[in-house]
């Protein structure tokens, strides 16, 4: 029985580890400035935790086999209540490992989340509602116009879904879209809102996830560094259509972005 246990535990351990190392299924390729740092730390954590995982499982398998009851030929059981020195050693080692890992990742977290977006960041307001994302650009005046819950018409989509108050001067040049278009290599400031329940704005390739919470306007930022189309998902259970609350992020060159935004402005006039 001891040998079977050893074989099964080792097999499970090595098979599981193989798929991590072979990266058969892995993080989607990163396309934001923060992705490299996050992925690097992911790998560091993976290597350290992987060593602990393999060491613990391999020891478990080996110990149950070596110290199995072999009847009269068993070696003598060591009567021992433990070893204080060893306890202290492994307490210290694990403390160093866990706190060390934490400190390493804290600087990345701080650089992402402890500072506001740069002043020249491209600002996009993202609003989640059952079950769609809407994106609003402030237009040439740089100001988002007022919205009014009384004016909301969800079925009409676009501006009406957001309840944009067209009487407000600042709202005249606001552009509302169902696809998020941003220029590459510029910091994007995202202002997250939700109308009804909590949603979560998740762009896996940007290593970006943040809940959109009704009653809050949450300011976040990220910098896409590669042009392309990227899928946007909702990551917080928001109701029966949660699975199809899907959007697209198009990262384009600055020129294309300017052209696109100008065209939307022109449509509005």
């Amino acid at each position: 029985m001891g040998l079977v246990l050893l074989i099964i535990i080792w097999l499970i351990t090595f098979a599981s580890t193989y798929f991590f190392i072979a990266k058969t299924w892995w993080l989607p390729a990163g396309a934001s400035a923060a992705a490299a740092g996050i992925d690097h730390h992911f790998t560091t954590t993976f290597i350290l935790m992987g060593i602990v995982f393999v060491a613990a499982q391999v020891s478990l398998g080996a110990l149950v086999w070596i110290y199995r009851d072999r009847g009269p030929s068993s070696s003598k059981v060591t009567y021992s209540h433990g070893n204080t020195k060893l306890e202290i050693v492994w307490t210290l080692l694990t403390t160093i490992l866990f706190v060390g890992l934490n400190l390493m990742s804290s600087s990345i977290w701080a650089s992402e989340r402890f500072r506001p977006a740069e002043v020249d960041a491209v600002r996009v307001e993202v609003t989640g509602m059952q079950f769609a994302w809407y994106f609003r650009y402030p237009g040439p005046d740089g100001k988002f116009g007022a919205t009014n819950p009384d004016l909301e018409d969800a079925s009409a989509g676009g501006e009406a879904a957001l309840g944009l108050d067209t009487k407000d001067g600042a709202s005249k040049d606001d552009v509302v879209t169902g696809t998020m278009v941003v220029p590459v290599n510029r910091e994007i400031e995202v202002i997250l809102r939700a109308h009804d329940v909590i949603h979560s704005f998740f762009i896996p390739t940007m290593r970006f996830k943040q809940d959109a919470v009704p009653g809050l306007a949450i300011h976040m930022h990220f910098t896409p560094i590669q042009t392309g189309d990227y899928e946007i998902l909702c990551a917080e259970l928001c109701g029966l259509g949660h699975y199809k609350m899907h959007g697209m992020l198009k990262v384009v060159s600055q020129e294309e972005f300017d052209k696109w935004l100008a065209a939307r402005e022109a449509e509005k006039q």
């Binding site: 021992s80 934490n102 079925s155 979560s200 029966l240 699975y243």
Partner: protein, 581 residues
């Protein structure tokens, strides 16, 4: 102190009941109440497992209509998710290890005739059962059971108009949890008082079996955590039915104003997770205690580092209340607090690692007997390591950005709080069944059950880590809407097939359980040659546990292979083995 303890026991003694109803239904006997909790949990786990099976089927065959149920609609899928999680967490993982085995064996292991408050004990069970009935009723009311997930995040859970199932079904869901909390609070008081006041002469705190330590600390966690959840539940009910706005700001549903304003959705999350994280330890601590116990018994060796194990249980319990914010890194909570919650969470890895080292240390230089309880205890260690190792990924906010709300999270918590705890329950069942029913369970069926469960668990939950890293969100009823998820569907298929096999393996357990009750081999009083007090008494134990006498304890709980002793174990009630040990 000793005389006082003895007096406490005398004053709590009660006569053996006559008649079926007082003996088996409204029983005051902790052993009967323990069995009642156990079978309640067994009923609940069958429901919970059936729901998970439906989820797995729907995920890979989304258009398949099921017998009786018809088409699974997206909202039906979310109902399955919600009820599976709620039933498993409350009525299985909290109920079986603590209410079931804790009730049955804590008094016997400390040498007491019953719990400190037998009437309160009976009330705890009947309250819990009422909670379960109300929870099941949610399936059958108009609109059906709620879809807001076991975490019940407001505002989704706070208004009827947010989706199907959010009407009466959601009210019943909250009421059921509130009732459960009341039962759990009564139980916790009883466990704490019993452990502190009812110990037999000589049963000092540092001679308590680690199972008792685990039940004791679990009860303290329950006392502190369930009160908060109960209050939060009442506030949520008020938001839903009395027009208050504790958790709901000004929101519109489908463009319509709801009349709420000024509340905070994050407040619910804080209150919920202040309960929810300690709840993880409420589920796993008793399993840790059982695992420690069994590794020592079946390695025929004292537990490695008893004191360190006690301090680790206390450390985990204490830190468990400091880390709730790690569920909320992406919630809009201040990013500065994330730093603090993260470091505390990583800190909880330290006592967890100590326990793992000590379990391995216990096996080392032992003489391991591969009995069925031991197999599950070894399986527990393996699962505890595998489930624990993904913790430091989720505990670091930068990595949680990618992993939060993906399959990585269910992979993590199913391994550690779900299946590892269930392995604890299985181990305890195989171990204590002879004491409870006077018969042995079939070892060969138990072995088959172990291999199905152990390999099956890994086949189900290890691939979920890969899905999570690849960015598959959890709680999606269909995987076809997002293009990059298409490539991951084969892995989902594999998981469903693995679930079929694993669930089939559980039938072996059910057969073994009921078959052995009537047909199992007669058990002796101490079939495992173990040392704790439950093995000193008759099988099954008499109404007052020790047949009229109160045991006196002279030794620690894990004295195996003591040099010079006549046999390879020294019972706690045997004459003292001397200061040298």
């Amino acid at each position: 102190m000793a005389t006082h303890e003895f007096a406490a026991q005398e004053s709590h003694a009660h006569a053996a009941p006559q008649g079926f109803v007082r003996k088996w239904v409204f029983s005051l006997d902790h052993k009967v109440i323990g069995l009642q909790y156990y079978f309640l949990a067994l009923a609940a786990v069958l429901v919970g497992m059936f729901l998970s099976l439906l989820m797995r089927i729907h995920l890979i065959w989304p258009t398949l209509a099921l017998p009786l149920l018809g088409d699974i609609k997206p909202e039906t899928y979310l109902t399955l998710v919600t009820m599976h999680g709620t039933i498993m967490v409350f009525f299985v993982l909290t109920t079986a290890p603590q209410g079931g085995f804790g009730n049955y064996f804590l008094p016997i292991q400390i040498g007491a005739p019953d719990m400190a408050f037998p009437v309160l004990n009976m009330l705890s069970f009947w309250t819990t059962l009422l909670g379960f009935i109300v929870m099941i009723a949610a399936f059958f009311v108009a609109g059906g059971a709620p879809l807001h997930g076991w975490t019940g995040y407001a505002p989704l859970s706070a208004m009827q108009s947010t989706g199907p199932g959010e009407g009466l079904g959601a009210d019943l869901w909250i009421i059921s949890i509130a009732i459960f909390c009341i039962g759990a609070l009564m139980g916790a008081l009883n466990f704490i008082t019993t452990t502190l006041d009812m110990r037999a002469k000589g049963m000092t705190m540092m001679r308590l079996p680690l199972t008792v330590w685990a039940w004791f600390v679990t009860a303290i966690l329950g006392l502190l955590a369930f009160g908060v959840l109960l209050s939060a539940g009442i506030l949520l009910l008020m938001d839903r039915n009395l027009g208050t706005s504790f958790f709901v700001p000004l929101v519109t549903i489908n463009g319509q104003l709801t009349g709420h304003k000024g509340g905070s959705p994050l407040l619910w999350q804080h209150l919920f997770w202040f309960f929810g994280h300690p709840e993880v330890y409420i589920a796993i601590l008793p399993a840790m205690g059982m695992c420690s116990q069994l590794l020592s018994v079946f390695s025929r060796k004292p537990i490695f580092g008893y004191k360190a194990m006690v301090y680790a249980i206390l450390g985990i319990g204490f830190l468990g209340f400091m880390v709730w914010g790690h569920h909320m890194f992406m919630s809009g909570m201040s990013p500065y607090t994330a730093f603090a919650f993260s470091i505390m969470t990583m800190g909880i890895g330290v006592p967890s690692a100590i326990k793992t080292f000590n379990w391995l240390g216990t096996l080392m230089r032992g003489r391991i007997r591969f009995t069925s309880p031991m197999l599950f205890a070894i399986g527990f260690v393996s699962l505890f390591v595998s489930g624990g190792i993904s913790g430091p990924f989720l505990a670091q906010p930068v990595l949680d950005i990618q992993l939060h709300d993906t399959y990585f999270v269910p992979a993590h918590f199913h391994l550690i709080m779900g299946v590892a705890s269930i392995f604890g329950i299985f181990a305890a069942t195989y171990y204590w069944f002879p004491k409870m029913f006077g018969r042995m369970m079939s070892e060969s069926m138990a072995r088959w059950h172990f291999w199905f469960s152990f390999i099956g668990t890994y086949a189900i939950f290890m691939p979920m880590h890969y899905l999570g890293m690849a960015g598959m969100p959890r709680r999606y009823s269909q995987l076809t809407e997002v293009t990059y998820l298409h490539g991951l569907i084969p892995l989902q298929k594999f998981i469903t097939y693995a679930a079929f096999v694993t669930i089939a393996g559980q039938l072996i357990f059910l057969v073994n359980l009921f078959w052995s009750m009537f047909k199992g081999k007669q058990a002796s009083d101490n079939p495992w040659e173990a040392t704790t007090l439950e093995w000193t008494t008759a099988t099954p134990p008499p109404h007052d546990n020790f047949g009229g006498h109160t045991p006196v304890v002279h030794n620690g709980p894990y004295e195996y292979n003591v040099p010079g002793a006549p046999r390879d174990y020294v019972m706690q009630s045997d004459p003292e083995i001397g200061p040298a040990h």
